[in-house]
Amino acid sequence: MFKPWLPFEWIVAIRFLREGRLQTLFIVSGVALGVAVIVFMSALMAGLQTNLIHRVLSAQAHIQLLPPQEVSRPLRQGGDAAGGEVEGPTVQPPLQRLKSIDQWQTVATQIRAMPDVLVVSPVAGGSALVVRGAASRAVTVAGIEPDAYLRIVDIGDKIVRGSAQVAAADILVGTELASDLGVDLGDKLRVATADGTASTLTILGIFDLGNKPANQRITYMALHTAQSLLGLPGGATSLEVSVADVYAAEVIAQRITTATGVEADSWIRTNAQFFTAVSAQTTANTAIRFFVGLSVAFGIASVLAVAVVQKSREIGILRAMGISRAQILRLFLLQGALLGLGGSVVGSAAGALGLFLWQRAAKNADGTALFPLVLDPALFTVALLLATATGLLSAVAPARRAARLDPVVAIRG
């Protein structure tokens, strides 16, 4: 018997769907399959992209500010017969001297005040030689302020032994460099630059960046130590910036350049190919989702078109007993929406189950998950709403046809 809180259209729509049991089952399964594919793919792609971007950005800042490059200046000689200038016949590219960003503290303060900027950290970087007994290696020195810098590139997370909180006489080295030089925590290393300046530093920590050349070449020390070693008293060769929205990095970088006049490179520009690949993947994913959605819509529309033909006599009888065209229209629209909703509920559950099984099956060699999958409730809500709306829209044409049926013709059959 009818539930008192269900309106007429709902009662008839649900009964019609229940009566065409097999037909309803098939189309709900079709919608469910489509929704499951969309949910599964979207979660997988989102997880994969988040993971890839996390990996790329765990070793670099979102935005890097660098001092301007030295430009070529042709030598000019004045005073020939015509009174013009003469350019030298060859123009050599200038040497790129190690130099500090002009007024970097003012620039840093200015950037910190900008919205969306999380952390700004100065770095004094250059080349040096580490020497231990007879062995020596060329390395890149990065002078950092650990408190700020570790919030941009989390070296602490990559430390294998020791600590990352470098003080004035400390140095952090990679695992490869440590083994090349045969050193460990607490050992002393002599770090020398080309102009003869040298310091003896103690190994505070050994890190593994997951990349052998990087583990061989990169060393970290305190900002002041690097400044004096590289002959840059009080200077910073770059400013590293992290922002809230990694995808907005390029826009923020341009804003920084406009505001400060210092060249700012975002990770999007320095990893252009990677970013293009991520964008292409997103586009492909969107296209697949669109076409799956389209086929779901056509499926619902065709089932309802058949239902209108099957039910035309019933529609005629309903019209004869005083049911209006608007009520007929609504009851078929409702069937479309219910098919979409039912399919998306089943599909979301199937998609979530698929993700769960996939996460259990796809593992790294060490047994950890390949990458973390996040089951975002928003994804399911959007899938539910979109599938219901798709069902409703697909039902428009069949429902209008049902509403327009001439009752005399419909009853005659």
Partner: protein, 223 residues
């Protein structure tokens, strides 16, 4: 119910026009029990569809329950039909997705929007009146032809309409079932003063009506 010079021309998608009703004049008084007879194709069903507001006349005027209908829009016609006219067709009258009693509730539910106890009670009374209390919760498709027509009759009376139109309701039934349905029609006509227009090919049943309207070639031959 009054028809004046009602004509109906069908085009049926071709340029050739077929005139089915040729200027019908007919008056039926409240409470009359009329048989509509005539050979197949004479225009009986078309007449009934026009009187039942399912179809519009090409020309002429029609008043139902004292209301002129020619200028009413589709929504107004639908409302008038729902409240004033009950239909019983020859076959496939019921909606098979519902039980017998739910079919009877349908017109009341459509008009009210939501189910309520009053319509449940009225549907049960009507089902009882047509002698199908035992079968009221059976799916409509599981009932016999005679039972289905009786449910259809109960449904046609659900809104207590002043006019009941029956298009060969006994055409597919055996004599006993046909007699039962006819007796029910007569009873409702007598007890409720419902005007009945009853299309039939059965001369015996037609003779038992108060008045016989004979339609031949789209015209009233005898009334």
């Amino acid at each position: 119910m009054q028809l004046r010079r009602v004509r109906k021309i069908y085009h049926a998608g071709t340029p050739i026009a077929t005139e089915v009703l040729h200027g019908i004049d007919l008056v039926v008084q409240r409470g009359e029990f009329c048989a509509v007879v005539g050979p197949s194709g004479s225009g009986k069903s078309t007449l009934l569809n026009i009187v039942g507001l399912l179809d519009r006349p090409t020309s002429g005027t029609l008043a139902v329950c004292g209301r002129e209908t020619t200028r009413l829009d589709d929504g107004a016609l639908t409302r008038l039909r729902g409240h004033s006219i009950g239909f019983v067709f020859q076959h496939h009258n019921l909606i098979t997705a519902f039980t017998a009693v739910e079919n009877v509730m349908m017109p009341m539910l459509g008009a009210a929007g939501f189910p309520n106890d009053a319509m449940r009670v009225r549907a049960a009374v009507l089902i009882d009146a047509v002698g199908l209390k035992r079968w009221q919760d059976n799916p409509a498709g599981n009932l016999s032809g005679g039972q289905q027509q009786r449910v259809a009759l109960a449904r046609a009376l659900a809104m207590d309409p002043p006019l009941l139109l029956a298009d060969e309701p006994t055409g597919n039934l055996d004599t006993r079932s046909a007699d039962e349905v006819f007796a029910l029609l007569r009873r409702f006509n007598r007890d409720h003063g419902t005007t009945v227009l009853f299309v039939t090919h059965n001369a015996v049943l037609a003779d038992r009506c108060d008045r016989t309207i004979e339609v031949v070639d789209g015209q009233i031959a005898a009334s």
